[in-house]
């Protein structure tokens, strides 16, 4: 089931009379294709949970429409939309066993929709099998680990065969290792069921790793919708470039003159097609190449060996982010005790942004 959002907007009235309304979701207008896993990504307070609540119907939009396939569900209450929702804290009913928790949505069905007892049991078991919690059916939620609770919550959301599955920060309550495992799990369950799935996260790695598409949001406004790799490689503006990637992108203030990019007085790259003027320069940590003859000379602060890669912390007069860090393959030995380091740059990892609007300035035909 594809989800279509048409000019969807949600404003919350201001706390006091003088303040301005808060626009948590500002003119969302895009389509989520059928059967895909979509990550809604943004910093805390950017309105991504509000967007999710609008889709599931717990909140009513201020304006705009929501369509599931060709059905306009804007006016429908949540129970009639056919959505399954997994809460950030799972919201498993603590007084019911896992079995009863999963059965609960089925027992709510009325009339023709209501399955027979045997059918309910069968569907409950099928879901339990899907998320691999069959041995735990008689346990109470508090007797489960976080990851198991998460699975039960997913099973409960899936048991009534929703048209759309929504997950609110599904991994935020899990420890690092479980998080890695569970996100694979979510991917697998989504593939097996083929249900259109939207999940909300502030963790870019989570969104990048399992989504078919990611929607990057900031302050209620959609910044970019694309495949994870595309969003990473071709960020549409400075916000997206800064938000995605660990370690984060390095920022410099630079200047373009005669098709050349200057950081301070150093001409570091040829940028054909870019207009002259002041720019913000973003360089991904993997965009630096150790090169004794390289154009970018920096002050070396520290070398952190991480096994597979080496992380080089350095400083430069044109620095605009709080720290600068390059990731280089660990085969390239750094000489200890050196005070300076020289890099050449990979043009594809260098991005220019407008100093005021943060919009991407393209060069070299890309």
């Amino acid at each position: 089931m594809k989800i279509v959002l048409q000019h969807l907007t949600k404003r919350f009235p201001a706390r006091d009379k003088k303040g301005e309304d808060v626009i948590a979701v500002n003119d969302f207008d895009f389509e989520i294709p059928d059967g895909k896993l979509i990550g809604l990504l943004g910093p805390s307070g950017c309105g991504k949970s509000t967007a999710l609540n609008l889709i599931c119907g717990l909140l009513a939009p201020s304006s705009g429409r929501i369509l599931f396939g060709d059905d306009d569900v804007t006016e429908l209450p949540p129970e009639n939309r056919g959505v399954g929702l997994v809460f950030q804290n799972y919201a498993l009913y603590p007084h019911l066993t896992v079995r009863k928790n999963i059965l609960f949505p089925l027992q709510n069905l009325k009339g023709d929709e209501r399955p027979t007892k045997a059918e309910m049991e069968q569907r409950m078991l099928a879901c339990a099998r899907l998320v691999q919690i069959e041995p735990l059916l008689e346990r109470r939620p508090k007797e489960l680990s976080g990851g198991q609770q998460q699975r039960v919550a997913i099973a409960r959301a899936l048991v009534k065969r929703p048209r759309v599955l929504l997950l609110d920060e599904p991994l935020s309550n899990l420890d690092a290792r479980l998080r890695l495992q569970t996100r694979e799990e979510i991917r697998r369950i989504q593939r097996e069921t083929g249900v259109t799935t939207v999940f909300v996260t502030h963790d870019q790695e989570e969104a990048m790793s399992i989504s078919d598409l990611i929607v990057v949001m900031n302050a209620g406004v959609v910044q970019q919708i694309d495949r994870p790799q595309t969003v990473y490689d071709e960020p549409i503006n400075q916000f997206v470039a800064q938000f995605l990637g660990t370690p984060p992108i390095n920022l410099f203030s630079g200047r373009v003159r005669d098709g050349r990019l200057y950081l301070g007085e150093q001409c570091v790259l040829v940028v054909p097609g870019a207009e002259d003027g002041e720019v913000n320069v973003g360089i991904r940590p993997e965009g630096f190449v150790l090169d004794p003859e390289g154009p970018l000379g920096c002050e070396l602060l520290a070398v952190e060996v991480m096994g597979r890669d080496t992380s080089v912390v350095f400083d430069h007069g044109a620095r605009a982010s709080s720290s600068l860090r390059a990731i280089i393959p660990s085969e390239e030995r750094m000489h200890a005790g050196e005070r300076s380091v020289r890099f050449s740059l990979k043009p594809s990892k260098v991005y220019l942004f407008d100093k005021v609007s943060g919009a991407r300035i393209r060069f070299g035909g890309k």
């Binding site: 209450p77 609960f104 949505p105």
Partner: protein, 295 residues
């Protein structure tokens, strides 16, 4: 085991222990002794023998039997009624948004009002005077119902007033406790249930009630105990001579045996008190068992 520390611990506990010994343990033991001393003479502090005669006397005393009947009627009517009403009002209170604070305050007022002042209000409502038949009777007359003397009239009328009064007095505390219990239930459970398509009634019975059931059981148990100990509310409405008005309670009977017109019988009072203790004990055990099994 560090004995020095142990001794210190006892030392710190001493004030509380001394207090408990003097005001709890000694009276308890004394009550048990009084209860088995037959034909105890308060003036000469003598008795003729040890036995269960005091219990037999109390259990055959028509005033005591009347008191037991009154107490049980009060308990059985007011505890379920007040808890149920309180639950209804609390759920209502927590689902409204406007003026919630105001309503909460209004519902809590009886709790901070003096029992006797409340009794006075009930007098005005129910007691006929030379000038008026009482507010309720005036209203009843408007519907063509003949006036009833609620204070000195038939038993059912007096019991009705008593039950109304008790419910009205005990409800605020229950509402207070229940609203805070309701407020502590995570909203996500309601949202989850809504997304899952539960009806309001089903959310209430399957989600809300189980979530606050420890609080409800607490209120039922303390409600039972409180209602079994009813006395001052009766005095507030019917005056001190409860035997005459037929509205005595078990605690009232105990008091009368000690200090009332027929006072000076600590043995009978002790026996009655022990019988009350056994009743409350049994009911509480039953309550706890029920709450355990339904958990």
């Amino acid at each position: 085991m560090d004995y020095g520390n142990n001794r210190k611990a006892w030392l710190y506990l001493l004030p509380a222990l001394a207090f408990l010994l003097v005001f709890m343990v000694y009276p308890l033991v004394d009550v048990c002794i009084y209860a088995v001393e037959e034909r105890f003479n308060f003036a000469s502090q003598t008795y003729t023998g040890i036995g269960l005669y005091n219990f037999s006397y109390v259990l055959h005393d028509p005033f005591f039997l009347q008191a037991v009947k009154n107490t049980f009627i009060l308990v059985l009517i007011t505890v379920p009624l007040s808890t149920g009403l309180a639950l209804l009002i609390s759920v209502g209170l927590s689902s409204i948004e406007r003026l919630q604070r105001l309503y909460q305050t209004v519902f809590f007022l009886p709790y901070v009002t003096n029992t006797l002042a409340v009794g006075l209000v009930f007098m005005i409502l129910f007691k006929p005077t030379e000038y008026s038949p009482g507010l309720v009777n005036t209203l009843l007359a408007a519907f063509g119902v003949s006036p009833v003397d609620f204070i000195e009239g038939p038993y059912w009328a007096k019991m009705l007033v008593m039950c109304l009064y008790t419910v009205w007095v005990v409800m605020p505390f229950k509402i207070l406790i229940l609203t805070s219990a309701l407020a502590s239930v995570n909203r996500d459970y309601y949202n989850a249930a809504r997304v899952d398509g539960s009806s309001k009634w089903r959310i209430f019975t399957r989600i809300t009630l189980p979530m606050i059931s420890p609080t409800v059981f607490y209120l039922i148990i303390t409600g039972f105990i409180g209602a079994f100990k009813a006395y001052s509310d009766e005095v507030a409405i019917f005056g001190t001579n409860l035997n005459e008005s037929g509205m005595n309670t078990i605690v009232g009977y105990v008091y009368d045996m000690l200090y009332g017109n027929s006072g000076g019988y600590p043995s009978f009072a002790s026996a009655a008190a022990l019988i009350l203790f056994m009743i409350v004990f049994t009911v509480t055990v039953i309550n706890l068992t029920v709450s355990r099994t339904s958990d």
